[in-house]
């Protein structure tokens, strides 16, 4: 269907809603916004065109993976350092896609606008597509990567690893709150600001490191994201067109941005910068281009005349980018036995690159990595976290360690609320908590879950051993010889502690009304 017929059909599919006469649907979701009846139309496809477009993309992606790449044994040729981090990246992104699917279901229900509803439906199926594509990539790598351990277990381990738990805390924001809060978290922040650095720029890193499967999948994913960004823009513009919505919109936008920033910038920054072997650009550079210039400088600033302003903590976030990935990676590597991938030490070439891309890096992180390299042999009987006087507590809101942006200038604080002690990594997380503290009543940190566990017992309980039942999945190097075993881990005599238990509170959370 083309031309005038398409326009006619498209106009008619936008006229499906009617005012109920017999049964009014009760409000399923809290909806503190008024939605105008007419909005811009983000989805200019009929179901028919959509199916043809997506089938074509699927055939190209899955066809390439099952044909050329498999025959050429490409996964085995990729940089192992890079391939290792995909064990964690892919379960993280897959859950984001799943949460996005749930977000769009809420939006179809709550946003009384047929134009937007059909755009949300297409996104809903897209998100199922992305879940399947990314799970398929995990399974593909489990079959073909040199070391499948970690790929085969990643989804199972997502709730026992302190980083993947933090990803859950971020992406639950896509569908836990009111539907517009979800759209702000998902479409306006995560998709519009962050999918380009993740699905476009990160694929350049993958390709440079010999991994063709990830770009094939991620670029196909990203080809849907432009429509999702359009959904986000149409939603945001619709909400902002009603003046009474603006105060609540800015509040939800602020918390959405901070919730996504605290996890995504530290996680993606660490992945981007520390798992490149053939080195190119830095995450800081990618962030400045895609998040700083493109998203904040162009997309959001254009909305200022309509009353939508940059997030309140935008400047603070921009200043933290220089360091948060390094800090996250230091904690991640320090706790390497608790991961489900191998983290190899940095080389002299890496040191030079970091200092060049992040001037001052060595002064803050160089010694840690030098020491890390001395502890990779189990005969040394040491691992970095075991040498910490006290590990940092984990943030009640974002679940990340309270050491950001950098341990020496950490913005962490300990507060109490309703007789319970909470650590917060930043003003933004404390403020997010203070707006709705009741939403964290069943929230526990990794430390609270596992305190008292001896490391070896914990590894066994979580299933972090290889198929032989004695070698750890995680390793502090990529070597084939003398891998760390359960006996080596037990010899460390490390017990998981909950640092929050002993840290004094600095007062009560000032709850915001």
């Amino acid at each position: 269907m083309k031309g005038e017929d398409f326009i006619k059909a498209h106009d008619r599919v936008k006229d499906f809603d009617w005012q109920p006469s017999y049964a009014e649907a009760p409000a399923r979701y809290d909806m503190p916004y008024r939605i105008p009846a007419k909005t811009s139309d983000p989805f200019r496809h009929l179901v028919r065109d959509y199916c043809a477009m997506e089938r074509d993309k699927d055939d190209r992606q899955y066809g390439a993976m099952s044909d050329v790449m498999a025959r050429a044994k490409m996964p085995a040729k990729a940089s192992e350092r890079w391939t290792e981090v995909l064990k964690m990246v892919l379960p993280v992104t897959t859950y984001a896609e799943y949460a996005a699917m749930k977000c769009t279901g809420q939006l179809v229900d709550a946003v009384a606008n047929a134009e937007l509803r059909q755009g949300y439906l297409a996104q809903m199926i897209d998100e199922v597509r992305h879940v399947n594509q990314e799970a398929h990539l995990v399974r593909y790598l489990a079959k073909h990567a040199p070391d499948p351990e970690g790929f085969t277990q990643g989804f199972r381990l997502r709730n026992t690893n302190f980083i993947t738990r933090a990803s859950r805390a971020a992406f639950d924001g896509f569908f836990a709150g009111n539907p517009i809060e979800g759209a702000l978290n998902l479409q306006v922040v995560a998709e519009t600001a962050y999918t380009n650095p993740i699905f476009v720029t990160l694929t350049e890193v993958a390709a440079a490191n010999g991994d063709q499967a990830t770009p094939t999948t991620f670029l196909s994913v990203q080809s849907d994201e432009a429509r999702h960004m359009a959904n986000g823009y149409a939603t945001l513009a619709a909400i902002a067109s009603v003046e009474d919505n603006l105060p609540r919109l800015q509040r939800d936008f602020d918390t959405a941005f901070w919730r996504q920033h605290t996890f995504l910038d530290s996680f993606v920054g660490a992945v981007y910068d520390y798992f490149q072997e053939t080195r190119g650009g830095s995450y800081l550079e990618a962030w400045k281009e895609w998040v700083g210039d493109d998203w904040a400088g162009s997309y959001i600033r254009k909305l200022e005349p309509f009353g939508v302003n940059l997030p309140t903590n935008w400047e603070e976030a921009a200043n933290r980018i220089q360091w948060v990935g390094h800090t996250a990676m230091m904690l991640f590597a320090a706790a390497w036995p608790m991961q489900f991938l191998r983290v190899d030490p940095l080389t002299a070439k890496d040191f030079d690159w970091f200092e060049k891309k992040y001037p001052g890096w060595y002064n803050h992180y160089g010694k840690f990595w030098e020491n890390y390299a001395t502890m990779t042999d189990p005969a040394e009987g040491r691992f970095p976290l075991g040498l910490f006087e006290s590990p940092p507590p984990l943030c009640r809101v974002c679940q990340m360690p309270c050491v950001f942006p950098r341990p020496d200038i950490s913005t962490a604080r300990i507060k109490t609320h309703a007789g319970r002690k909470h650590a917060f990594c930043s003003d933004g997380c404390e403020r997010t908590f203070a707006i709705e503290p009741h939403r964290y009543a069943h929230n526990y940190t990794w430390d609270e879950h596992f305190e008292g566990y001896e490391l070896g017992d914990w590894l066994v309980a979580c299933g972090l051993l290889r198929a032989d039942g004695k070698t750890l999945i995680a390793q502090p190097h990529l070597k084939r010889e003398r891998m760390w075993t359960l006996d080596d881990a037990r010899a460390l005599k490390f017990e998981i502690r909950n640092p929050l238990r002993d840290l004094p509170a600095q007062g009560e959370v000032a709850v915001l009304q």
Partner: protein, 357 residues
């Protein structure tokens, strides 16, 4: 190029061994679908010291992200449910693309061979515009209802199946529109607005509209899945679309309309099988709440049957408008009631339409 680590190479699994396959081997559908949704009581419960059910972030009203109260049915392991069609996104979209391509080709051929221009104006005006277009609003209501149902479903396998069914119904609704747009090139009998007018005002459609609005107001995702597919599909959609449009399309020389309906029937059969699988799982003897679930489902089936039947009975005037009818309303209604009774009694329930359980 690297080799696998020496110590463990011989025994290392290369697939998702944590998923319990329904049959002997893990299928692609299972590998890409199962355990994508966190299971806070089972698969995702950490082995730590916290006995409480954990949620990183509750909803604004303080309830959990996935709430067992989202359905009246009880089940210890919703994640055990499997889609009998084993659909994941690629297979589903490929299937719908094939169906849509076949409709496009059938429409194009009928346009070129003159069949569309030869259609009886009364068929186009009274049946396609007056009835089938009105029915597209019913399909749209199901799309609306199933979007939040997939959000609330208590397992990924169930949520995905509801998501695909949600898409089915918007496809059905849009296909009617696309066909009428094409027919405008082949005569002047098309009145697209007649469908919405009938839907909103004609007495024959008010019980169906009432049911559509009640469907959109239904908050129990499992009730929707069972009510829509075990009752509304075999009774009301069978009558309003299969009996009225598809069967009468051939005597009225409209092969395209018949073809469009047949693609919807294919979807309907898939969704029926999915609902039957759910109905069987929750009353399985291994489920401690099987008896309570059985009573709840029986109540739903009776209630949905009465409401859908009222909508079906009211559609008699639409049958009277068919220029060359293949069947009468009375015959079609009897057939649809019998088909519904067969579905319901086949699952071991009683039907208000008779038949032994």
């Amino acid at each position: 190029m690297s080799a696998a680590p020496k110590e463990t190479a011989a025994k290392t699994a290369r697939d998702f061994t944590y998923i319990k396959p329904q049959r002997r081997r893990l299928t692609e559908y299972e590998a890409l679908t199962v355990h994508m949704q966190p299971d806070h009581l089972g698969f995702d419960k950490p082995p730590g010291v916290i006995a409480d059910t954990e949620w990183y972030l509750l909803r604004t009203d303080g309830t959990p992200l996935w709430n067992p109260a989202s359905t009246a049915l009880k089940c210890a392991d919703w994640f055990a449910w499997r889609d009998p069609a084993q659909q994941w996104q690629r297979t589903y979209v490929r299937h719908q693309e094939q169906q849509e391509s076949s409709i496009e080709r059938a429409t194009e051929d009928a346009a070129l061979d003159g069949s569309l221009a030869e259609l009886d104006a009364r068929w186009v005006r009274d049946v396609l515009c007056g009835h089938y277009r009105a029915w597209s609003f019913f399909e749209y209501a199901i799309f609306r209802a199933l979007a939040p149902a997939q959000r609330e479903a208590l397992a990924d396998t169930l949520g995905n199946a509801l998501c695909f069914q949600c898409f089915d119904h918007l496809r059905h609704a849009q296909d009617v529109i696309c066909y009428l747009v094409e027919l405008e090139h082949h005569g002047d009998a098309v009145d697209d607005a007649a469908g919405k007018a009938a839907w909103l005002n004609a007495p024959a459609y008010q019980p169906a509209r009432r049911l559509a609005e009640e469907i959109m107001a239904c908050q129990d995702w499992a009730e929707l899945m069972l009510g829509l597919n075990l009752v509304v599909g075999p009774l009301l959609q069978q009558l309003a679309v299969s009996e009225l449009v598809r069967r009468s399309a051939l005597p009225n020389r409209d092969a395209v309309a018949a073809h469009i309906v047949m693609t919807a029937e294919r979807d309907r059969r898939r969704n029926l099988a999915a609902a039957e699988e759910l109905a069987r799982m929750v009353v399985d003897a291994s489920n401690a709440d099987a008896a309570a679930n059985r009573a709840t489902i029986q109540r739903w089936l009776d209630d949905w049957s009465r409401r859908a039947d009222a909508a079906a009975v009211a559609l008699a005037p639409a049958f009277d408008a068919v220029p060359l009818p293949a069947t009468t309303h009375a015959e079609a209604l009897a057939k649809a009631r019998a088909a519904t009774a067969k579905v319901i009694t086949g699952l071991g329930y009683t039907s208000i339409f008779g038949g032994a359980a």
